[in-house]
Symmetry: C2
Subunit: 499 residues, 2 copies
Amino acid sequence: MPNSSASTVAYDRLATTYLRLHRLQHLQSIAYWDQAAYMPAAGNDARAAALAEVATLMHRMSTDPKLRDDLDHAEQEPLDESQRANLREMRRVWRQSNALPESLVERTQLASSRCEHAWRTQRPANDWAGFASNLRDVLACAREEATLLSDQTGLSRYDAMMDRFEPGMTSAQLDRIFGDVRQWLPSLIQRVIDKQSREPLIQPQGPFPVAAQRALCEQAMRLLGFDFEAGRLDVSTHPFCGGVPEDVRMTTRFRDDEFLVSLMGTIHETGHGRYEQNRPRETLGQPVSQARSMALHESQSLSFEMQLGGHEGFAELLSPLVAQAFGEQTAFAPGNLHRLVTRVKPGLIRVDADEVTYPAHVILRYEIERPLIEGEIELDDVPALWDAKMAELLGVDTRGNYKDGPMQDVHWPVALFGYFPCYSLGAMYAAQWFAAMRRAMPDLDTRIGRGDLQPVFDWLHRHIWSQGSRYLTDDLCRRASGEVLNPAHLRAHLEARYL
Amino acid sequence: MPNSSASTVAYDRLATTYLRLHRLQHLQSIAYWDQAAYMPAAGNDARAAALAEVATLMHRMSTDPKLRDDLDHAEQEPLDESQRANLREMRRVWRQSNALPESLVERTQLASSRCEHAWRTQRPANDWAGFASNLRDVLACAREEATLLSDQTGLSRYDAMMDRFEPGMTSAQLDRIFGDVRQWLPSLIQRVIDKQSREPLIQPQGPFPVAAQRALCEQAMRLLGFDFEAGRLDVSTHPFCGGVPEDVRMTTRFRDDEFLVSLMGTIHETGHGRYEQNRPRETLGQPVSQARSMALHESQSLSFEMQLGGHEGFAELLSPLVAQAFGEQTAFAPGNLHRLVTRVKPGLIRVDADEVTYPAHVILRYEIERPLIEGEIELDDVPALWDAKMAELLGVDTRGNYKDGPMQDVHWPVALFGYFPCYSLGAMYAAQWFAAMRRAMPDLDTRIGRGDLQPVFDWLHRHIWSQGSRYLTDDLCRRASGEVLNPAHLRAHLEARYL
């Protein structure tokens, strides 16, 4: 990245710093992965201390006052388009690293680690009061952060929080987008349930040995183009996609009484993994090579899990692999497999939701966390709001069931406010990508059924993966699909697939 | 470790620095372990860059000029005995970090990485000339390093190199010790071979499935007290014991046509592992909690592999585990298993050598690398010396066979001169520990046969593991066994076991 031209000396110095940070982040990522996948219990304290040490070092590098001067000087230097985009992203990363006083960062960490730790036992005990007393401290920190970020960016408090994950997205836009979804989603869900209730469905018979499941997941990853020379699949309690672009570490988990959750989860993470494996190499380590946003990242995992994984043609490809793994069953026939994967059922738990009901879970959370951060409502208002919105959007009763209600997610305990919208924005982008692909390749669906997935990968590579953060999200989206985010594509996708 | 007394302010600042280095080393160790055990091939360049980055940071911390002042000031501070020992070890670590100019470190790294890389193909091709041309550069760097270290320490050049691994040991002592071994070893080997040639030996019949071998190795580790809550066993091409005291990462490798090499190798590494797992907790992260020396470390792995693993009573414990792993075979009877483990056969390769012939391999290397570093001989002299010494010590012919002669070890290509003696010193210390145990516990051997290994672990824990680097080696040895290193114990052990 750094070039030796004397006229870009400030820019080059910045590029060197971000490359060094990238290398330290490599060690961080591998240590996190190991912690989740292999570390024995007694290693935890030493690991936490080691990770805190490198985080401190990286924070010091990221907040070095010299960076601010270099950022200013670099603006005057003769940069090419990619360098200028990198400088924009450097400034964004710098702003985030320098936005908060260390005392607030520490208070937030303390409050959220206490809240998250207690939540692990409070949730099964359905102890809302105990949970809320800790969450109050986390919320206080988050509101303070939101106020600071709002002052710096000129955005509203919630928008400033969301901007950390989804730069450019605002609650004004979300209100429009989710307002539209609210119009058609509940009746769509009802119609899909009615239709599916008349379709036969055969349940697979277990057990499904873990070794066979693992082999099946790896086959699915190969089918989806995951590069095992530059990544692995391992097991952890909470599946994730970590590591570094040159060495992507995916995890999943297995239960021997079912296989579809692990398989679809692996397909989901493979979407994240391929985005990471294919970020632009020539700028790797620089902010401009980062994935564009969290919604864009989710658009890749959901392109794989929902657009491909739930595709009728894709079931044709999976069917023989599943039969090979567990022996022939009528349940593994392509049609039945597809019906299993696309079964819609309103439920209490977001992470278990199908693609049709999922947006309801996200809209509900957005409609609660936004006013919570803006200070328009208080924590004590949350349970009643939750009950009302679950009844309204999904027709299910959550009264008194806090553990499967507002206590179900780890996000709020760990101060992750403003993230939830990314999940559904990702689903919308994914639908938009496939609509664009179908316009360019009218025979796309036939090809998928034939096992010819390369056109999909090529399109995503060209328009998303290889672009990193070169363009702002709206610009990237317009270049990829001819328009900015348009939720009509998700609706059209759901109606086409489910009605 | 740091205490808040204002009167030990320099000492406390040093303690904080070494604790921070310890934490960064944690990430290094896990990244190295992952590189050997799990990392896919394409991750290598990024990993190397990340490891180089943290090494640079650590080097900068270790050579901060402020450390020298703090070391001097701390000498005047009111330290307790443990702090004073820590200060002595801090100074030692500091001296090593600051001994060499960066340019020499870099030249050595370049030369040795080129030599080691070429060696991987030159060795199978038996290409001594090609190898020697690279090794010449490595040797030139090593001699330069030896001269610098000699000037700083007042030791001879070779002794200064050895001091990095085995502080306090000198070639004058080694000449005496190895000179003694040279007197009795060749005839002992001959007598053992004669004796064993009259003993029946049944070879186990494979295959030995890898999953069963892995389970067997883990059982052996449990038998030997390895704490799986604070460590793991994995697989790598070159077995090692890495990680950190709180989380020890051992590796082994498996071939399905034999199992004893992996099993005994695992028992060996378990000795290293228990030393690491039981280093003093209250000073962890400080130089004084480090293992005392490389010979002391080897004395633990060899206490496990040779003293215990080759013990007649230990074969009684292994026998049912082996039979459980692979099914009953007459070869697995305790007597035969013991004869398999203790079979003596002069050979070309050090790492394949039994405990009786092993010292010959080490003496030979010492007698070549010492004059090589001192500048008394040149690389071109090595093959003839090697041939002569192999004939003299082990009666085997190595003429023209460079690949199984002076090209067999990785040590010289990577500039590791002065390390070889530690292996045999470790065997001597191990014999000395068990002699001391037998004096304190006359029924030790019966106990081992009964599976009561706790007295062994307790003795090692009290005298070696928990002591870290609190005492200098001679002092530690005297406190543990009543005398400084005495090679007569190794001779007595070998004669008692093999004649």
